[in-house]
């Protein structure tokens, strides 16, 4: 019996060690999140002022203490315009594609192929999307443009919208569709006025998650929208964006530019995290009711 009780004790010890390791792994992940957020606040908050939102990017002041450092106004406006255009494009394409997968052709061989490729596209390297859009919209038309940046972002957001749309629509009760069809409603009206409406909150979540996914994307913008040091509302020309400015400023030797990069990174991260949290809260509500 002593041999047996020794084995039990050993198993218990192994188990405790295992549970502890799992706990430590979780603590490491949470710790990384906390450390990154602390660094962001520490280094970003000193750069947060009205100037950041009201003046445009400019080159460094160097040692001149009297000069006022630039801000990020053009970058915020450029990012907002490109993101808005990208979201319009990706929501239209993604919702229709997700609807097709859920309501029409999802179970055909072609439907399985689309679903599979969409899943691959979900994790495809964003820089390759940027290069492909460069070949499509920058090289033939002779210049970088805000539209090219918006298309690149849309190509990254559309798979997210497609996936969430399909998942949400598939969750809707089929009795809803049957009830609509029994009243003689054409299928496209059933989809639009019944299924989409029933899925409303979930569809919004999908759009928010897609927005969170692309709003910090830098790589696809580098060779599509390029960047612009001046305030511009013209999407036919190069356009500034927050991530691209951060990329240029952070690898710079001038402390004032690095400061602006941290402030921009802080604002961007807060927006992305807030949108993420809102999306998750919205996604949780229907399950409760």
């Amino acid at each position: 019996m002593t041999k047996n009780s020794g084995r039990v004790a050993r198993r218990k010890v192994y188990n405790v060690v295992f549970v502890a390791c799992c706990g430590v792994a979780t603590i490491i992940a949470i710790g990384a999140l906390v450390l990154i957020l602390i660094s962001l606040l520490q280094k970003g908050v000193p750069g947060l002022d009205a100037n950041l939102f009201l003046s445009d990017t400019k080159s460094s002041c160097g040692d001149d203490t009297s000069c006022v450092p630039g801000g990020l106004r053009n970058a915020f406006v450029g990012s907002a315009m490109m993101l808005a255009a990208a979201m319009l494009m990706s929501i239209s394409v993604g919702m229709l594609a997700g609807t097709w997968l859920s309501e029409y052709g999802g179970e055909t061989r072609y439907g399985h192929l689309i679903r599979f490729l969409n899943d691959v596209l979900l994790s495809a390297p964003s820089i390759l999307v940027g290069v492909a859009v460069w070949e499509l919209l920058v090289k033939p038309f002779g210049g970088f443009s805000g539209w090219a940046g918006a298309v690149a972002l849309a190509a990254l957001a559309a798979p997210v919208v497609t996936r969430t749309t399909e998942d949400i629509l598939a969750m809707q009760a089929s009795s809803l569709r049957e009830a609509g069809s029994a009243l003689g409603t054409p299928k496209w009206q059933v989809v639009r006025k019944i299924v989409w409406r029933a899925a409303g909150g979930g569809l919004l979540t999908g759009a928010l998650l897609a927005f969170a996914r692309i709003s910090g994307e830098t790589a696809p913008l580098l060779f599509t929208a390029l960047g612009n040091n001046f305030f511009s509302l013209d999407m036919n020309h190069p356009m500034a964006s927050v991530p691209a400015v951060i990329f240029n400023d952070a690898e710079n030797a001038f402390p004032d530019l690095v400061q602006i990069a941290w402030a921009g990174a802080l604002v961007m991260s807060l927006v992305v995290l807030a949108v993420n949290v809102i999306g998750r809260i919205l996604a949780r509500e229907p399950r409760r009711s």
Partner: protein, 321 residues
């Protein structure tokens, strides 16, 4: 029934419901949106192939085997970035995999229900932080810390010339293949943990309960019942994490040091395919330079597509949605 239905006159209208003519249109619109997704993936491949063709034609296998990457002499060999991509991918995976499994097991098996949800959300928020912020954090916070407290002591302790001394050789500035892998590991960790968690939740509770009923400890239940049940999915998660790590751009660009040479040690600076494209594409000096970068992109596309395709295949066979 009679009082429910309106008078027969109401039925004189058209037999086909109003608006039904738009049915095929709407169906066609949805189908073409789905096809657009297919087309965009196809275009990525075609554009990289066409753009990279001149470089492939000129250099052939030399492109993959040579370590010379010289825009001045127009001699491009991509072995450095390709190996850098594979090494950082493998290293980050080796670090993230045990952590991701640990988090998932903790959340599913051990964690009190009340705090499981907030922890899961916090881990998922880690995935929401933009790549470029990881890059800045790596460059300004993690790399200096690592250089001062890990790299320098290690290099002092290990004599040069020995096996370990060679592996940990490098410039102590924290910008190297190893730190890039650590940052990558933190970035892919939340994705892998989330999918692992969903995989573990697909294990039927009866299986788990019968293991406990036979007197298994939680450790034995996890390793002998839960893990075997999701084994195919596990490989899927590994591939998914690897696919993410291979294609990650901005964070790596910040911290890997950006040299095209073949990396000689863990603490040597290097480059990945994605970081090379990010650094050089906008300033490519010649047609051949652009073409070489596009060819590099095609190599990355083929690698990640294969890895992600395997991942999705295995995960869907687990009936993971």
């Amino acid at each position: 029934m009679a009082e429910l239905s309106p008078s027969a006159a109401a039925f004189k209208g058209p037999r086909i419901p109003r608006g039904a003519i738009f049915d095929p249109w709407f169906r066609w619109l949805c189908a073409s949106a789905a096809t657009l997704l297919l087309a965009s993936l196809g275009w990525i491949m075609v554009s990289l192939f066409i753009g990279g063709l001149p470089a492939f034609r000129k250099f052939g296998f030399h492109f993959i085997t040579s370590v010379t990457w010289n825009p001045v002499t127009e001699d491009y060999g991509a072995a450095g970035p390709i190996v850098g991509t594979l090494v950082t991918g493998a290293l980050s995976l080796a670090m993230a995999l045990p952590l991701a499994m640990g988090i998932a097991v903790f959340l599913v098996e051990f964690c009190p229900k009340i705090i499981a949800r907030p922890i899961a959300v916090a881990v998922e928020l880690l995935a929401g932080i933009p790549s470029i912020v990881y890059g800045m954090w790596g460059l300004f916070v993690f790399a200096p810390f690592f250089a001062l407290h890990v790299q320098t002591p290690l290099m002092m302790a290990l004599p040069a010339g020995t096996f370990w001394g060679d592996i940990f050789q490098g410039i102590p500035n924290g910008a190297n293949i190893f730190t890039a892998s650590v940052i990558l590991a933190i970035m892919i960790l939340p994705y892998m943990a989330a999918v692992f968690r969903e995989l573990f939740l697909t294990v039927p509770p009866q299986l788990r309960e019968s293991a406990f009923a036979l007197g298994s400890t939680p450790l034995e239940t996890v390793t002998k019942v839960v893990m075997p049940f999701v084994s195919r999915g596990t490989i899927g998660v590994i591939m998914l994490g690897l696919g993410r790590a291979l294609g990650e751009t901005m964070a790596v660009t910040f911290i890997i040091g950006n040299t095209h040479a073949f990396p000689k040690s863990l603490f040597d600076s290097g480059s990945t395919i994605a970081s090379t494209i990010a650094n050089e594409f906008a300033e490519a000096t010649s047609e051949m330079h652009t073409s070489a970068l596009l060819a590099l992109g095609l190599v990355l596309f083929v690698i990640t597509f294969t890895v992600l395709a395997i991942a999705r295949g295995l995960l869907s066979s687990q009936r993971y949605q």
